[in-house]
């Protein structure tokens, strides 16, 4: 796997890598993809209709309004909050 591909994946993954880290990741990913490539020799196609037999969609809960968790609890793990989650300015 080349550095361009790893950079692209890093961007998709919202991860920053230094140049050295990118090189290491490219080497690791190359040997990992070598194992993953073994499945290409199997000639089969996924049948999505055969899956999800055990989903219980007919047992969905009634749509009843209930009290939600208190705001204080929801915000207890946010590093920056002001009765809401605080993020950097996104609109000029």
């Amino acid at each position: 796997m080349d550095l361009d591909m790893v950079s692209y994946l890093a961007k998709l993954s919202k991860l920053n890598f230094t140049e050295d880290e990118l090189k290491k990741a490219a080497a690791d990913m190359t040997s990992i993809i070598d194992i993953m490539d073994t499945i290409k020799e199997v000639d089969i196609v996924y049948n999505p209709l055969a899956d999800n037999k055990n989903m219980y969609l007919k047992d969905l809960r009634e749509d009843i309004a209930k009290d939600s968790m208190e705001t204080e609890k929801i915000l207890q793990n946010a590093k920056h909050s002001d009765n809401c989650f605080v993020v950097p300015k996104v609109v000029e």
């Binding site: 993954s13 991860l15 047992d59």
Partner: protein, 484 residues
């Protein structure tokens, strides 16, 4: 009093006969943790105060004569299971200070039995690994040899039970994370059928494969914990609607006449001879008990590791996209824009292996590669399931090694991701096929390291694999680790 090798049933009897109080029992374990866990590093958080409070409540229930199987029993919890008010770190800097505002369903269920929680155990970061050496906080050692890994990802849970720092623990298993550390640490670990135990409050790794299960001293104790944590939960849409049952019901029933399959690929090159010989000699013991050994084949096993890593990493890359540093988790002090802040928080919070899995998952799901990797892996999942269905037409349970080797040295495999991934060959198909499996000790190598074997059952047939494991355990002598 030495509680280190006592089983839940023995502790139950002592508590009910008032030979020991719940507080005294909790104290015995806390003392052992203080004495041994500096070397072992099996716990990330020890909840001594909570244990004392819970022991009081448990004692009241015992005194009132209404104790249930786990009332007053000390239990350790893997640190990816949410415990309200108690840090749940997933052994990651990302969640170093995360205090869940709610309990996982399994915790609610255990609390309703009045267990005593001893603490939260170490693991590979976000359950990604088989050594517990990717933990950001406690790189757990193997109680049988402190220079070796305990396995993983539930390495803290397995090591603490093995060393007698808890009589039982909860782990989670996505590709072998309960069974492999149980095997490495010489204890018994059960991965239930997918859907048997609610995943609500289990920090998600790969949602279609994750399952919570017990690690204990034997199969019977695993059954008692499974009895307490299983059952339908409306908060987990994949939890089974099947009625809860008594998983200890078949214990003591003879295995005579039972058919036990040994798929040849699980005993091929790549499995250490000492492991293969030990598991095959266990098969011989079952034969002597009157079971029939059936030879069979699983041709797709050679593709299982690839299929597993593609599916689990794809799901992980999606599940871990929630960590943005804003609502909870590590938030970087750098980043002027929203996007920069998210990238910096994730880059600082996640460790190397987690980043690798996210990259792999996004590769498998990205445009142009989806059909070749994710689509093909999902097709293989169906093929492996079909092969299991064929094998189960011939047998009641399947017997395999739990891992290709005994526990290896710290730093031996852990820097080579490919070697680490390939070591999961014996366990991943069980998760891919959503089956239940139990690992128990079947021997020791020349250096005294435990060897584990796995008994795989049909969907929702945990009672039978517990029965089969128990039949072996009754005739097998456990050699406790040297640390005790």
């Amino acid at each position: 009093m030495d509680v280190s090798q006592l089983k839940i049933r023995q502790l139950r009897e002592m508590l009910d006969k008032k030979e020991i109080s719940a507080a005294e029992l909790a104290d015995e374990y806390i003392k052992r943790i203080k004495e041994y866990d500096k070397k072992l590093e099996s716990y990330i958080t020890v909840t001594e105060e909570i244990a004392k409070e819970q022991a009081k409540a448990a004692q009241e229930r015992i005194n009132s004569g209404s104790s249930s199987a786990l009332t007053g029993i000390p239990i350790a919890i893997k640190d990816n299971i949410c415990t309200e008010g108690v840090k749940t770190t997933c052994a990651s800097k990302m969640l170093e200070n995360f205090v869940p505002p709610y309990n996982a369903t399994v915790i609610e269920k255990l609390y309703s039995e009045n267990i005593v929680m001893l603490g939260k155990t170490s693991m590979d970061e976000f359950a990604m690994g088989g050594s517990t050496q990717t933990s950001a906080f406690a790189k757990t050692k193997n109680p049988y040899d402190l220079n070796r890994v305990p396995g993983g990802s539930s390495g803290g849970s397995a090591a603490c039970v093995s060393a007698g720092l808890a009589p039982a623990a909860l782990g989670s298993d996505t590709g072998g994370s309960i069974r492999q550390p149980a095997a490495f640490c010489g204890v018994t670990g059960l991965k239930p059928t997918y859907g048997r135990v609610s995943r609500y409050g289990l920090v998600a790794f790969a949602s279609s494969l994750d399952q919570i299960g017990p690690i204990a001293r034997d199969a019977h104790d695993c059954a008692l914990v499974l009895n307490a944590i299983s059952g339908c939960d409306s908060r987990d849409g994949t939890s089974s609607r099947l009625a809860a049952e008594n998983f200890a019901a078949k214990i003591g029933m003879p295995v005579k006449g039972m058919k036990i399959a040994v798929p040849k690929e699980f005993y091929a090159d790549g499995i250490d001879a000492v492991v293969r010989d030990s598991v095959l000699s266990a098969a011989q013991k079952y034969k002597e008990m009157g079971a029939e050994i059936v030879e069979c084949s699983m041709p797709s096993l050679k593709y299982a590791v690839a299929a597993y890593y593609l599916i689990s990493s794809a799901e992980a890359s999606s599940n871990l996209s929630r960590y943005d540093g804003i609502k909870y988790g590590h938030r970087s002090s750098k980043g002027d824009s929203y996007s920069e802040l998210v990238c910096n928080s994730r880059s600082e919070g996640f460790g190397e292996e987690v980043k690798r899995r996210i990259l792999l998952g996004n590769y498998a799901l990205s445009s142009g590669y989806y059909d070749a990797y994710y689509g093909k892996a999902m097709a293989l999942k169906q093929k492996i399931r079909a092969e299991y269905e064929e094998i189960f037409k011939l047998c009641d349970v399947i017997l395999t090694p739990t891992a290709p080797s005994v526990a290896y040295g710290i730093n031996e495999n852990v820097t080579d991701p490919v070697k680490m991934y390939q070591a999961d060959i014996c366990t991943v198909t069980v998760n891919i096929a959503s089956l239940p499996a139990i690992s128990t000790t079947c021997g020791y190598d020349s250096k005294g390291m435990p060897i584990g074997m796995s008994i795989i059952g049909k969907h929702f047939d945990e009672a039978t694999i517990i029965q089969v494991a128990d039949a072996f355990e009754k005739n097998f002598e456990i050699i406790p680790p040297r640390i005790v």
